[in-house]
């Protein structure tokens, strides 16, 4: 349970994978999670409000955990982050419901949750950081020397 996700394998899948038949996979153990997710998705669609279901602290058996991942499936978008240890984010087959997993540098799962949002907060770029990096890029450009007319051209060209 709670093994780090194989992002490469899932990224190879083309398009969305529809979830399996709900009647065959949903158990009483996590029906409440799905019910809460429905409410969060509806609220997001009406108001744009972000919501989170923390999976790490919920008592779930390994079977329930896998069933939940199977039911939610995988969508079109996936991201891998390297921020003080690996983190993985992918959109489930339900638009706006994202599965987020944060690991320690040793690969231990430290936090795992479903985030309902247009884009998970972790993926957003920060305006102040962008402002700082614009200045950094400007400085770098200023230090570039223009190429001579024949520089970079070899005899074979």
């Amino acid at each position: 349970m709670n093994e780090p996700m194989d992002m490469a394998g899932s990224a190879a899948a083309a398009g969305r994978q529809p979830p399996p038949d709900e009647a065959e996979t949903i158990g009483a153990g996590f029906a409440a999670i799905l019910g809460e997710l429905v409410q969060l998705l509806e609220r997001f669609s009406e108001t744009g409000e972000r919501g989170v279901i923390d999976l790490h602290t919920l008592p779930m058996s390994p079977v329930e955990y896998e069933n939940l991942r199977d039911v939610l499936g995988r969508g079109e978008v996936a991201a891998e982050l390297d921020i003080g240890g690996p983190s993985s984010i992918y959109e489930t087959s339900f638009h706006g419901a994202w599965w987020v997993q944060h690991c320690t540098p040793d690969g231990e799962v430290a936090a795992e949750y479903i985030e309902v949002a247009a884009v998970p907060e972790m993926l957003l770029a920060d305006a102040s950081e962008a402002r700082r990096d614009a200045q950094r890029l400007r400085t770098r450009i200023a230090h570039w020397e223009p190429l001579a007319s024949n520089e970079g051209v070899t005899e074979d060209d």
Partner: protein, 381 residues
């Protein structure tokens, strides 16, 4: 720590250290998860902390072994315990700071003046009262004087480690220095106890972060410990609990039960009467904790645990101290209840364990008198 550095915002400090917003956000989310808060709370923590000026923290050490500070600082990755030092402005810590002597003391007094009423005081180590407080003196002042002076301008006090919270090892019988905890001396400021010998690093850092991020003392238990970290016993969350319930116990440290990872109750585990987060947060960034490594819980986050009888004598009759000190009677009730919940197996196991220990001790003593090197254990045991 210069004054100009101390007025920077936390975001400025993180940027200067090359720590991205995403890394800080992740650390806050992990901290929120450790506090049983939603990841959204972690996001709120990151936003609130990021824009605030780095809060001043003054760290005082008294009768201590430095284990608490080592626990907090021995981090090898950008975890919360590491980032805490980028969030706060640690204006005085006589173990970590480069300055010494009069310069160090002047820095402390300057920080106390500049941040009067706003700084957080972190204390580790017990405070000795005997001989007028002479058992711990620094810069010509006793620990009592130093603590009282620093507490005057503090917004809150975080006592880290069992020594600072309940007196710890210095307080153990016969307590020759008259050692006490911070809350036994300071009565007019909020004191948050973060007990443990040492406390788990994320518990220390998380408590401090929670105070600054949410601008209030977290909900505390009857021993003034944050309930988010001390709300459950080790026994409540121990992964070996099913073995306790099934009556499967290790009888010695090298028997089949020990090798199979069975319950360590009969080997003296104090998990049923100890409140801490070791079973969930674990140690060394989640690698393990004492029980998982095969050793019974010592009860190190409880008052008077050094005087609770042998670490290897099974409950249910702990001796946590006199009535009224750290709820020993309640601890005894809980121990009895825990044994009861174990369908009487715990009581029987404890009694049998203590009888066998007694027999082994008698045999070992007899063997020693006869010049026999064996430990007196017979195969039928």
């Amino acid at each position: 720590m210069t004054r100009s550095e101390s007025v920077q915002t936390v975001n400025d400090a993180l940027d200067r250290q090359g720590i991205s917003r995403r890394t800080f956000l992740k650390s806050c989310m992990l901290a929120a998860s450790a506090m049983a808060l939603s990841p959204l709370a972690g996001s709120a923590m990151a936003k609130q902390l990021g824009k605030m000026k780095r809060p001043s923290v003054i760290y005082l050490s008294f009768q201590e072994c430095t284990g608490c500070l080592e626990s907090l600082t021995r981090s090898f990755s950008p975890t919360l315990e590491h980032l805490i030092f980028n969030v706060i402005s640690l204006d005085y810590d006589d173990t970590l700071m480069a300055a010494a002597g009069h310069q160090a003391e002047a820095a402390k007094e300057q920080a106390m003046r500049d941040n009067y009423g706003k700084y957080v005081l972190v204390v580790d180590g017990a405070i000795p009262l005997a001989f007028g407080g002479a058992c711990h003196t620094a810069a010509g002042k006793s620990a009592i004087q130093i603590l009282k002076e620093a507490a005057k301008g503090a917004r809150a006090i975080v006592a880290v480690g069992t020594c600072a919270t309940f007196g710890g090892l210095p307080h153990a019988n016969p307590n020759p220095t008259g050692a006490i905890g911070v809350s036994d001396l300071i009565k007019d400021k909020p004191v948050i106890n973060v007990s443990g010998c040492p406390p788990i690093p994320v518990v220390m850092a998380g408590t401090i972060m929670h105070f600054f991020a949410f601008d209030k003392v977290p909900e505390l238990d009857e021993l003034h410990r944050p309930k988010m970290f001390y709300g459950n016993t080790i026994h409540d969350r121990c992964y070996r609990r099913p073995f306790y319930d099934a009556g499967k116990f290790a009888e010695s440290f090298d028997d089949e039960g020990a090798r199979n990872g069975w319950c360590l109750y009969k080997l003296g585990c104090k998990g049923p009467t100890t409140y801490n987060s070791c079973a969930t947060l674990k140690w060394n960034q989640g690698v393990s904790f004492p029980i998982e490594s095969g050793h019974p819980c010592l009860g190190c986050s409880q008052p008077n645990f050094w005087d609770g009888g042998s670490f290897y004598a099974a409950l249910p009759t702990p001796k946590w101290g006199k009535a009224g000190e750290g709820n020993p009677s309640k601890a005894g009730e809980i121990a009895g209840a825990a044994a009861g919940i174990g369908a009487g197996v715990g009581l029987a196991a404890a009694g049998l364990s203590r009888y066998r220990q007694y027999r082994r001790a008698i045999k070992a003593a007899a063997a020693a008198e006869n010049g026999d090197d064996s430990d007196g254990q017979s195969k039928e045991e």
